[in-house]
Symmetry: C2
Subunit: 334 residues, 2 copies
Amino acid sequence: MAIRIAVDAMGGDNAPEAVVAGAIRAISQAEHALEIVLVGPEDTLNEVVAAQEDAADLPLMIQHAPEVIGMGEAPTAAVKSKRRSSIHIGLTAHKRGDVGAFVSAGNTGAIMAASLFLLGRIEGVLRPSVPNIYPTIKGECVALDAGTNVDCKPEHLVQFARMGSIYSRRIFGNTKPTVGLLNIGEEPGKGNEQVKAAFNLLDDTDGIHFVGNVEGREVMHHAVDVVVCDGFVGNVMLKFGEGLVTAYPIMVKQELAKMDASPEAQKAIKEVITAVTKRCHYEEYGGTPLLGVGGNVLIGHGSSSPRAFERLILAAAAVAAEDLAETITDVFVA
Amino acid sequence: MAIRIAVDAMGGDNAPEAVVAGAIRAISQAEHALEIVLVGPEDTLNEVVAAQEDAADLPLMIQHAPEVIGMGEAPTAAVKSKRRSSIHIGLTAHKRGDVGAFVSAGNTGAIMAASLFLLGRIEGVLRPSVPNIYPTIKGECVALDAGTNVDCKPEHLVQFARMGSIYSRRIFGNTKPTVGLLNIGEEPGKGNEQVKAAFNLLDDTDGIHFVGNVEGREVMHHAVDVVVCDGFVGNVMLKFGEGLVTAYPIMVKQELAKMDASPEAQKAIKEVITAVTKRCHYEEYGGTPLLGVGGNVLIGHGSSSPRAFERLILAAAAVAAEDLAETITDVFVA
């Protein structure tokens, strides 16, 4: 059976063109049959789809949603007032079971507010969480929270560990995902009050493979499959990494200017640095699921390109195929 | 007049050989006349110095200290029981005014405890702080706290901003250092409870150039001269950066394996990556001052090499030349 995904065609800085282009790429790249429902103003989307070659033969549907929630709008107010927005209509289609997942690169706050409003929290989940995926030297490391929950209690971190483990197992195939608590030292007893309390709780939690504290240094070396932290620390780390990855090619250029490299060597350097930069770019993951809500919702980056939408939609297809929200429900409600 | 520095000859994993070698290198590299007092067991040090060529002609003195505080010892207990340790004797020499600064790559907790015990806190300083220096694409960025103070109140962050500004101005020559508050968004009102309160306090503080929130992404691009954060976040960021810098060459190798580069190009790639790695390595800074104690104390990395000791001692000479502790006293007591 085909997997069907609803895509917010109006979400992101480059919508709807980049969304439609990404959707077409995703269909051609998908391992299994993939059907895509583009959600947005019918007339606009018909035009954009018609402008794409060969789109007529693809499993690409349009679901009319006349309203759009802008990137800068106050989330709660927008969610309350615009009931016919692409975010509402897409989430409602998922709630009805018409599609296996909903993805959007639109206003993150609005996606989260609307998801909570329409799909609710999974019973037992205190705080839904958005993870980040680090492209380590040995595969993917899931770190959460990545910025959704800036003030966390120890019990929130424990739930992040459980949800992150399910995500790592189901989507990245780690049969026994190891969990580390992000800390400033490896020994138990290290850290601030929050992580000291979280360490003890994690240590007492069944059903996860907690291996202890992990330092920031170890994240990119894949010391563990799942890293838990509060959203403030997680967001600083994520963005510091983004900044270092974009600073690195500039430092390479600065150091190269002091050296005497041939044009051919310079070309090779540029090529390999571009490859590493690309590997570390969010585009390659497209986006991550909002874990803990009662459905499969994936959030993409606001400035997503066609490539990023392609990856986001394929990630959503994987999440829908595993019905990640249902698996989390099984674990939390049990 | 020569600047005289006391160096803990027994501090660090490679002591005393690496310390003595680094001291000799520092003397030859120093801009101004530099005298070094090596602190440690006389007999051991005489032997190590004698083994170095030409050391007899250098301004290198030995101050006897029969006890050594090990890297793994509990700081408070060691500081209480070992009053004739190299850390005690060196700090006491600084307190007496015999030397302009004391440096050690030994047990960090013991250096801090002994500094507080022997030199005290500067009046008005709530929490001494160790910064980290980021080698950005446009010069040095001072970020503090780097791990000393894991649970901070907003008023601590304000003091870090003031001390970091003095450090940036005196040592890195930024006449009007800009200060940013590390946060998860640029807009005022972003962040957790701690940084929201700190934002308002920083905004009301005279004598610093507070420019608002700064995201992790901006640190390596040198958005500001001074970044303030609590020591938990600062330590995670610092170590994540260290990990990414060491993961990067591995990713380069992995990507290179997929490419078809000539031996000459591969050599050039290796050379430029080594240069960037070196630039980002702590060795290049050697260590940083413990800001807020009543003296010029610099702490080095435990695994310091001769090169790292050279840089650490030169950094100490710069701090002593400016009498950084006295400048902080002027500002805080005024």
